[in-house]
Symmetry: C2
Subunit: 579 residues, 2 copies
Amino acid sequence: MRLSNAYIPTLKEEPAEAEVVSHKLLVRAGMIRKVTSGIYTFLPLGLRALDKIAHVVREEMNRAGCQEIFMPMVQPGDLWKETGRWEYYGKELLRLKDRHDRDYCLGPTHEEVVTSLVRGEVRSYRQLPLNLYQIQTKFRDEIRPRFGLMRCREFIMKDAYSFDRDEAGAQKSYQTMFDAYTRAFQRLGLQFRAVEADSGAIGGSVSHEFMVLAATGEDTIASCAACEFAANLEKAEVVVPTDHPVGLCEAEASEVPTPGKHTVDEVATFLGVGADRIVKTLLYVADGEVVGALVRGDRELNETKLKNLLDVQSLELAGSELVERVSQAPVGFAGPKGLQVKRLYADLELQNGTDWVTGANRAETHLVHVDLQRDAAITAYADLRDVTSGDPCPRCGGELRFPQGIEVGHVFNLGTKYSAPMQALYLDENGKEREMVMGCYGIGVSRILAAAIEQNHDASGIMFPPSIAPYEIALLCLDTKNEEVRTKAEAFYETLQEQGVDVLYDDRVERPGFKFKDADLMGLPLQVVFGGKGVARGIVEVKDRRTGEKAELPLDGLAEAFASWRDGVRAGWKVASQQ
Amino acid sequence: MRLSNAYIPTLKEEPAEAEVVSHKLLVRAGMIRKVTSGIYTFLPLGLRALDKIAHVVREEMNRAGCQEIFMPMVQPGDLWKETGRWEYYGKELLRLKDRHDRDYCLGPTHEEVVTSLVRGEVRSYRQLPLNLYQIQTKFRDEIRPRFGLMRCREFIMKDAYSFDRDEAGAQKSYQTMFDAYTRAFQRLGLQFRAVEADSGAIGGSVSHEFMVLAATGEDTIASCAACEFAANLEKAEVVVPTDHPVGLCEAEASEVPTPGKHTVDEVATFLGVGADRIVKTLLYVADGEVVGALVRGDRELNETKLKNLLDVQSLELAGSELVERVSQAPVGFAGPKGLQVKRLYADLELQNGTDWVTGANRAETHLVHVDLQRDAAITAYADLRDVTSGDPCPRCGGELRFPQGIEVGHVFNLGTKYSAPMQALYLDENGKEREMVMGCYGIGVSRILAAAIEQNHDASGIMFPPSIAPYEIALLCLDTKNEEVRTKAEAFYETLQEQGVDVLYDDRVERPGFKFKDADLMGLPLQVVFGGKGVARGIVEVKDRRTGEKAELPLDGLAEAFASWRDGVRAGWKVASQQ
C-alpha cells in the first residue's frame, strides 16, 4: 500500500481523554477513532491489525477442530429468560424492545443462542463432541467505558462453545482449547501467562484466564517463582500458616475513645498498634441480606471469594445509611461485637489471633482486647482475602510474585449450567436421554490489539509483533525527487509485493523526519529506508523497530540480504515473547 | 473438509414457515438456522458462502481504491438528530437507550457515522477524494420479516461512502463504483441488470440498483428490448402518447346508481365500459395533509412518483374513516368532482380523455360523462402511474419487457444531503470552505446468498456459481468399505487440498443415494464420484451440477483430466451468467 493513497490520519498530539498508552497510540497512529463513549470506528490500519489477530485465532480454532459459525448480535430475551440470566445479568446486558414491543438484548456473550441452536439439531451421541465458534461484534454496556479498546462497549470477540457427552469429554475439549489458546498467543508474539481464574457470571467449575503481561495491566496475577502456579488475584487461595497463638484473650474487651479516627491507619497510629492487630468489619448486601465480613486491617477483602462462599447472584458493599442502621454508628466504627447481622464471616487468618482492635459499634469509639471466639458470633472462618506479598505459594510454599496482566482470553468448563435449564439433551448409546456437558472459550480480539501495544511500545510509538502488525514492513523513500532513489525504492516495493509481503510504502512528498516519526509511531516491525546518501553508496538502511538496531544492506542482492535480516528480526521477536 | 467431521445438518423436510425457495434450501442444506423472526445464525456452510461473496466484493472495492474500515453497529442518536433522520426514519430504525438513558440506534446504514468521522479528519482538498467502505452487520426492524435472508432484520452489508471536492468528482466516484459493482456481480457469476432507481430515504439525485434476475424476485424491472434502458418500476417514466381526443365532453356529468359496485372491474362490468374509461380516485395522507390522486382504472398508481412530486417525508393511503369524511361516501365511491381536498393530482394520461366514469362522492353512485377540466379542480397533471406492458421505452420508444429482479446493490449520488447539515467541509485550493459532495454504495452480502439461490436451483437443490459455492467440489466416496475405492478417493482429496482447491469430501458411512441427495442439495458446482464399479473400470464419474451433464474421467492422469473438465464447467457458468 502506498501511504500517499492510504487513509492513515496520524496525529502529533495526544488525545486529551486517553488515559492509557494503547489508547493514545491507537488514536495517534490513525488506527481508531471514537464515535461515542466506549464505541470506536476502526480505520484501515487498525482494521488490518484486527484482521491479522483474527486470522491467527481462526487458524488455531480450525486446527483444534472447531467450526466457524456466525450468530446474531441481537438476541431474543426469551432465551435469556430460560437460563435466568435475563434477571441476574446486570446492566451490562443492554436490553431493548423491537417495534412489536418484544424483549431483545445486544449479545455480550452467546451461551443461550448457541445452546438453543444445538439443542434443536443434535440428538445423538454420534454427533458429539461438537465445538462451534464465531468471531463477532459484542456489546457490554459498561458503566464507565475507558482505556480505549481495553474497556469499551462494542468490541470484537472470538467465542467458542463445546458440547460433550460427559464430564471426561468436556475436560478433553477444555484441554484442547487451552492448548489452542496457548499456540495462538505464542503465534501472536505476546508474553502471556495462563492463570487459574474464577468463573464469575459465566458459571461453571474450572476456568483459566490468559493474561498478556504488561506493567499497565488492570489485573494482578499471583505467580509462583518456584513452580507452575499462577492465578488471578480473585482466585488465588491464601494458605494461612498456623504460627500464631490461639486461645482466649485474658483481658476483657473494653472501649477506647477514637475521636475522628475512621481508617485503619488512623486508628493504628492513634492507638500505637500495627495494622495487623486491627480487624476491619465490612458490611455487604448479598441478594438482599446484610452480611458481615472481617479481615485483618492490613489485608484486602476479596469480594469474589465472599460471593462464592455466599453463593449469591449479587454482592454490593452496603451504603452509609445501611451501615449506620446495622452498626448503630457512623461509617468507620462498625465492629463484630454485637453487630446486628444474621451472618458474620471472618477470614481464616483471624483464627490466629486473640487480642484484636475492632470498631465498637458506637460513634468515635473502638474496642481493644477483642477475642473473636469469645466476643463475636462468627458464622464461619473462610479464605476471604487477597493473597499478598509474603504469602506462600498455595501449591509449593514458594515465593509469590505479582505481575500485572491484561485479560485477553478465558476458558471455562461450564458443566450443565446452560444445558440443564435449556434442556440440551442427547440420546446416549443406550437410548437414554442425557444432558450435554459444555465449555465456553473467549478471546478478546480487539482487546489483544490494545494489550499488544501496552506490552510493546516506547516513547516514539508502537512496536508491533510481526504477526499483529498491520503491515510487516515500513518502506521509506526519503528523497522522492531523486530519480535514482525513487526508482530503486519503487522497484523494491514491487519485489516485496510480488512476494506477497505486507508493505506500507511511504512515497509521500514529506520531510525525512516526518516520515521517520510516522514509521516509529505506527510500529511496523521492519523499517527499510531508501535515502539519497545511502543509495549513492549502494546501501539501504534497515531498522528493527523493537530493538532499535540499525544495519546497512547492499542494494546489490538486496532481496536476499533483506530476507536474511528479516528472519533475524522475527527470531528476535520469538525469543523476546517467550521470556 | 471431511463431511464426517463437518457440522452441516441437512434436512429432508422443508421448513414449514419458509415461503421462498432460497429460504427452504438454505435451511435444508444446513446453511442457516432461525434464531427469532428475521434473525438467523449462519452455520459453517452458510458462513463459507458468505465469506466467498465478501471476498469478491472486498477485492473489487480495494481495486476501485476504496479503503476498508469498520464502524460500530450501535450508533449515537445525536448524529441522527443532526441530519433529521432520527425523526424521519421510520420504525425500521431500532432506537434504544443505554444504562445512562442516552439515545442510540442499531445502524441500518452509516451515512451519519462516516460523515462524522470524515468531518473530524479531512480538512484539505488534498485529502479528497476519499472512499471508505466496510463489511458489517446491519439491523432494520422490518415490520414483517420474511423470505429468509431476502428480508431479514439482521443482515450483512457492504457499504461504501465517497467524499469528493465537487459534483464532477462525485460523478467520477459514482462511475468508478458503478464499474466495480458490475465487475463484482460478473465475478459472482450472477445474471443481473443495473437499473435506474429512485433514491428513497437515503436521498440524493441519481441512483442505480443492481438486480439479480430471478422469476421469484420481489421487484419488477422495466427493461427495453431495443436499447440499454432499464429502470425499476418505481422509477421508470411513462411516456404518454397524445393520440387521444382532447376537449370538452358534450354530455353533462350525471349520476348513475351503482349499488354494491366498489371496484373498477365491478363498475366497468356493471356499466358495460372498459376499465380504461374509468378514473380511480385515491386519497393519501402526505405529511399530515389529505391529497387526492387520479389514475386510469386499468393503471396502478406509483406511490414513489407521487411522493417525489409532493416532496414529503411520509405518504400513506388514507384509512376508510378518513376517506368517508373527505368523500362523504363509503370507500369505493370517491370521485374528483366536488372532492374536499386542497390538492388533487391527475396522471398525465387523463389529459387525453374527456368522457370518464368516476365515483360520485355519494354512496352507491358513480358519475358518467365526467370531463376533468370542466368538472374537477386538478392541481396539476403529472406522471403518477407504473409503466406497464404496451408503454413505449421512454428513451427510444422500443418495446418494454418486465423481468423480475432481486435488489442486491444500490449506488447513490448523495450530493450534499449529509455534508451540508453535518458540516463536512474542506478548504479548497483558494482556502475557501466548501461542502464535500458525497456518494454512498451498498451491497447486500447476505442477500446475495439468497438471490444466487433464487436464480440458480432446481428440484433437487441449490446450483451455486463457483465463486459463491462454499466449496467448489463435492467429492463422494460411495463405497467407504472398499479399500481400493477409499484409498483412491483419499488420495485425490489430498491432491486437491494440496492444490488449495476447496473440496468437501463425503467420507461418511452412508448409502450412495443419501450422499447424492446431499450433494445435489448443497449445490457445489462440481461433483466427483468414486464408486466401486467405476474404480474397477479405472474411472471416476463427474457431474456438472448446473447442467446435470455427467462424464467419466480416467483414474490414470486424473488430476489433469479433472483440471480440464473443471475449466469447462467454469466457462459454462461464465457464459450462462452473461446471458
